[in-house]
Subunit: 307 residues, 2 copies
């Protein structure tokens, strides 16, 4: 029986493409493996697979009796159901080391880089396996996506180097143009219910005993959001009431201008001034250079709430 290669729940482009890429590499090394996914493709991943001629991987959500390679995660909460009833053969990832343990020695490749596909590029090099043009194409797209076209604080020189080498193999001339095309698909808002937009990338936090929600929408141009901003703000107010939040912050991140307009619905909007030293005007504040929730928003707010 072929091993399965699977990324995290709510799969993104890196999880999908890393599964395809590792399954191919393993097959070339004599280990039968097929890529699967824990859920449907998001619009960006669908665009990427379509562009390079791949169909969506089969959906698998249960580990029972499976032999498994995990990509793009090492946390039980992000992984297959009944993980202890399958056999993990390997992990390829770029996140913090999670709580998965194994009864036997396995193969693990984890590097502190911006994208799992950057690690996979290293594995192909190490094993001397040639990367087919189409697989190089989707791996390159994963790096552009995870590093926000090399602008994210998580991007490393290894990511840029890998993406450029993969682009060469795939015959991609203009990385930035391809990245923008992907982000236009990713940030498409037409036809999406407002609440789905809010929850597309949304997380709850406990900050010094206060319930705080932080969402993010990355767009190639803030003007695209202008027509729905009023509706979006009303929706955040509703969610705040319904959920008993102290605050909801919603990041409208302009990846070209490299900054974030932060929508603020809060019992104490002054925390924003404490967090960034900038006074909100009306219902939002412009934060130049701020693009990462994890690295630039959560820590500042946690300090402001604690102070």
């Amino acid at each position: 029986m072929a091993a399965i290669v699977v990324g995290h729940k709510n799969p993104d482009t890196d999880s999908i493409t890393a599964a395809i890429s590792l399954a191919y590499l393993k097959s070339k090394l004599g280990v039968e493996a097929k890529p699967v996914a824990q859920g449907e493709l998001n619009p960006e991943s669908k665009f990427v697979l379509d562009k390079f001629g791949f169909s969506a991987p089969e959906i698998v959500t249960d580990a029972t009796d499976q032999k498994i390679f995990l990509v793009d995660h090492s946390d039980k909460s992000q992984s297959l159901d009944n993980l202890e009833k399958g056999e993990i053969l390997g992990i390829v990832d770029h996140h913090k080391l999670g709580d998965i343990t194994t009864p036997n020695p396995i193969e693990i490749w984890v590097w502190p880089v911006g994208c799992t596909c950057t690690v996979l590029k290293g594995m192909y090099d190490f094993y001397g396996v040639e990367i087919p043009k189409e697989i190089a194409g989707i791996m390159c797209c994963a790096i552009l996506s995870d590093t926000v076209i090399f602008k994210s604080a998580t991007c490393t020189p290894q990511d840029v180097e890998a993406a450029e080498a993969l682009a060469k193999i795939a015959g991609i001339d203009d990385l930035k143009a391809l990245g923008l095309e992907m982000f236009k698909v990713k940030s498409a808002i037409e036809g999406t219910p407002i609440r789905d937009l809010v929850y597309r990338d949304y997380k709850d936090f406990d900050m010094s005993g206060n319930k705080v929600g932080i969402g993010q929408l990355e767009v190639v141009d803030l003007s695209l959001v202008e027509p729905i901003k009023d509706e979006l703000y009303s929706e955040l107010q509703k969610i705040k009431e319904e959920g008993g939040y102290h605050s909801i912050f919603f990041m409208l991140t302009d990846i070209m201008k490299e900054g974030t307009e932060l929508l603020i619905v809060s019992d104490n909007p002054a925390v924003v001034e404490v967090a960034w030293g900038v006074k909100p005007e009306g219902r939002s504040v412009w934060l130049p250079g701020v693009m990462s929730r994890k690295k630039q928003v959560v820590p500042n707010l946690e300090k402001a709430f604690a102070g």
Copy 2:
């Protein structure tokens, strides 16, 4: 401040040499790092470091405020005290994935091979860093030790390949001769109190509610143990009484003949016959081909006790 590179508690040759080897590699890659150890060298490790001109690494047992690379383990119980007060930068290992987690992405190289130094050989190759002759020598010794000169059930073709390549760099002509020399040092029994010999490699198990102790002594020739066998057996009987054991089994493993003479002190010696289908004669039984406590002794006894 330089990062420290450290192996597991009660360090063996792989833990010591992998720390030295990774510290050198990291320094070559621009990360200041120094090897340390969680305890004194055992006789084998001392022999190996002396042979290639290294002194014993400084002893460090506390992680507080340290930047740390872990080698040869990924379990908290095997690691430094106060591990959460240090910052783990990387893990290089060949054991099952343990319970260590990290708050940030780190570098992890873990392969299902016989020795950490086999993984390290791969890392040197990957980064294109030349291995100095002396470091190649101690890495080669670690592989010979961990794989019992390629005879252990844990040995893989990668281990053999790495050891042969390292031997070439180090100018070692006869791997087997070097391995035997090491095992003679390791299994030296002159001058060692009998109880220390028993506890040199000894573990307790709970088998279906029965307290069972299993020790192991690896020797290059069983005849070396002959003069102390009576004394050894009396000591096992004493330990059984003192510790309230159901059974103590002591493996006298002959690495050349590739088998184990199992000394038996038990309330029910018949479990040995159930476990291996061989009737004990007197106080011991010869088990041809049995060399690994973990893979060939514990599972059989657990089944026999359960049945």
